[in-house]
Symmetry: C2
Subunit: 415 residues, 2 copies
Amino acid sequence: MTQPDAPIPRIVILGCGFGGLWAAQHLRKAHAKVTVVDRTNYHLFTPLLYQVATAGLSAPDIAGPIRHILADQRNTTVLMGNVESIDVAARKVKLADGGEVEYDSLIVATGATHSYFGHDAWAPYAPGLKTLDDALEIRSRVLLAFERAEREGDAAKRAAWLTFVVVGAGATGVELAGTLAEIARQTLKGEFRNYDPRNARVVLVEGADRVLPPYPPELSEKARIQLERLGVTVWLGKRVTGVDAEGVTMGDERLESKTVLWAAGVASSPLGASLGAPLDRTGRVKVEPDLSVPGHEEIFVVGDLAAVEGVPGIAPAAKQMGRHAAKNILARLAGRATQPFRYRDYGQLATIGRKSAVADFGRVKLWGFPAWFVWLWAHIYFLINFRNRLAVMIDWAWSYWTFQRYSRIVTKRTW
Amino acid sequence: MTQPDAPIPRIVILGCGFGGLWAAQHLRKAHAKVTVVDRTNYHLFTPLLYQVATAGLSAPDIAGPIRHILADQRNTTVLMGNVESIDVAARKVKLADGGEVEYDSLIVATGATHSYFGHDAWAPYAPGLKTLDDALEIRSRVLLAFERAEREGDAAKRAAWLTFVVVGAGATGVELAGTLAEIARQTLKGEFRNYDPRNARVVLVEGADRVLPPYPPELSEKARIQLERLGVTVWLGKRVTGVDAEGVTMGDERLESKTVLWAAGVASSPLGASLGAPLDRTGRVKVEPDLSVPGHEEIFVVGDLAAVEGVPGIAPAAKQMGRHAAKNILARLAGRATQPFRYRDYGQLATIGRKSAVADFGRVKLWGFPAWFVWLWAHIYFLINFRNRLAVMIDWAWSYWTFQRYSRIVTKRTW
C-alpha cells in the first residue's frame, strides 16, 4: 500500500540495454522517482549490430533515443552520462562529468564488453563489436580494405588487404564471417577493375573444436557446412597467440591480413567490482537468487553483468532479469518478500548469411532456410519501435533481391 | 572518328560530387579509359546534408557508393584517395597515400569547403557543414547540448546549452536554423524533466541586411517572416568578430552559447592553385568560356571550383558544367572545336522548415506551403538512386506526421 505522506522512493537504473530498459518500463506506473542513466542517448538493438558493421543497416535503424522511448513515462528522468563509481554506503552514484544521483533502490545493468584475454595491445589491430562506434569502425575498415586493394599493385600486399580474419566462432563471429563472405562474393561483384573481389578470403578462427560452442554439436556442424558453402574458411582448434598490423599468429602459423575482427572474449563492466560483491572469473557479480547483491538487498544486478547459473548472456535473459529486478523492488517497497529469478528458455538463434541460420529450441532444431526465416521474423518483431521495424524490413527486402547493402559509406578514414 | 590503332585516351576526373559524377556518366560510352578519384567512397547529395545534421535522415540516405553507381560503366575505374598535387607539365596526378595517375585529359571537380574569413581559430567552436563528417559532428553537438542541459542545475549555464547560434543566413544557415527551432519546439516536446526544450533559443546571425541575399528582396522578407514564425530569432546586419567555447561576439555584443554552427564563408579546394591559372578572390579558377584552364586546353574545371560569370554555386550548375566539360573533351578527341558553356537557369529553392520554403523561378516566385511542396518533390526526385528515394520518402512521411526525427543518435561524444 502506498502511504501518501511517505517520501517518494528513488529508483536508479544504470545502463539502458535490454536489462535496464525492461526494468524501467516495468516501473511505468510505480509510485517512485525513476532515473535512468546511460552513457549514450540510445537503446541499442545489439542482436543486429553485426548488420551495421557489415553495411546492411544504418545506425539509426537499430538505435532508438532512450528519452523518446520513455517520454510518456512521467515518473522517469533520463540522464546521459558515464557512471564513475557507486558509493554503496552513502547510496549515491557519481557521474564522470560532475553530479551525483542518490538512490533508495538501484539496478545495475551496465553489461559487458569484449576482452583480449590480457592482450590489450591487440585492440588497435582487432576491433571488437559491442557498441555502435565499434560497428562503424569495423564497417570502415572492411570497406577501406577493398578500396585499398584496388590501388595496390603488389600481389602479396593486395592479398593481405583481401584477407579478412574473424577471431572467435560464437554467434557474433559466425554472423560477421558469413556476411563478409557474402559481401565479397555478391555485393561487390563487378565493381573493381584491378581484381575480382570474389577472390577475397574470409577466415574464421576458433579455439574450440567446433563453431557455436554453446549450441548442440549437430547444429555446430550444420553451421560449419553453411559457412563453408558461403565461402568462409573455418579453422578450428587454433588459438591466437599474436595480432599486429600485418596479421595474426597462431603458434607456428601465420596469416597475413590487414583486417582482423575480434569476436572472442567477454569482460564485464568494471562497475561490478565497485559493488564489493563476489565476482566470477569474467568479472560478473554473483548475485543472490532474487538478483540482489549479497549484503545489499537494495541493489540488483541484471543482464550480462549478473552471474546466474544456467542463464546465457543473450537479450531475452537480460529482459527477463530486468523485469524481475523491477518486480522485486516493488515488492520490497510494498513490504513483501522478493522472489527468486527463474529463467524461461525460449531457445537460441544464430544467423550465418542469406538464407542460412541455426535455431535451437530444445527438442526442435532448425537449420538452413527455415532457421533463417524464423530468425528474420523474430528480429524484425523484436526491434523496438514501429519506424525501425518498417525501415529494417525495407532495407532487408532491398538487400535480399539486389544483394546490395545500402550503408556502404565510410565516414572515418583509417588509412 | 576513333582510330582503332591509336592509344586509348586517358581521362581523369578528380572529385565525384555533382560536377565529377555527371562528367563521368557522360563519358559512359566513350572510347577512353576513365578514372574517377575521390577522397570518399560515396557521392553525396549535399542539398540534404542539413537533414543529416539535424537527425532527420541517416547518412546512407543521402550517400551512394561511387563504385556501385558506376559499376556497369566498364570503361571507368574508381579510386578512393586524396589528391596531393597535379603536375600539369608531366600530366600526372599524385595521390597522398602513394601512387600516381597519368592523364591525357583532366577534369578537376574538387569543389569548395567553408572558410572562417581568416579566423581558423574559430573552427573548433563553430563547425561548418560541407561533408558527412561535418553533419555528424553537428548532429552530435546539437543533441548533446539538450542532454547536457538536463543535467545542468545552474540556470545561466543551462541557458548557454540551450542557445544555438547559426552564423550566416544563406540557404544552409536558413535550413539549419529553421530545423533547429522545429526540433526544440516539436521533436523534443515532453522528453525532458528539468526544463522545457521549447524555451531553447535559435539565433540566426547575418552580416547583410536580409536573409538569403542571393534571392529577390521580397522572398528574403518572406523567408524572414517564416523563420520568426518557427521561433528563430533573426539578427541582421551583425558581423561576427569572435567565436570561442562560450559563445559569439559581434562588436560590443555578446551571445553566450555552447553550440555555434558556421554557415558563412566559402573557400575553394586548394587544388585550384596547383593548376597555375588565375584565381578569383575566393580561390576559384577563372576558366575559359569552354571551361578549360587558360594555357591548358586538356584541363577543365567544373562545379564550385570554377569561376564563371553569372553561374551560382549550386548543384544544377555543377551538373551542367560536368556534362559540358565531358562533351568538350570528346570533341577535342574527335578533332572538333570545343564549345563555350552556357548556363541554363532553372531557378533556386531554399527550405526553411515544415511547410515553409521560398522558390525563385524568375517571374514565378513561391513561398510557404507551395514552395515547400515543390522543394520536397524536387529533392526526392533528384536523389540519386531508387533505394534512397524510397527510404527518404518514408523517413519524411514518418517525420511529417509524428514530428519525430529518427536519426537522433549520438556516436561521438564531444563533452
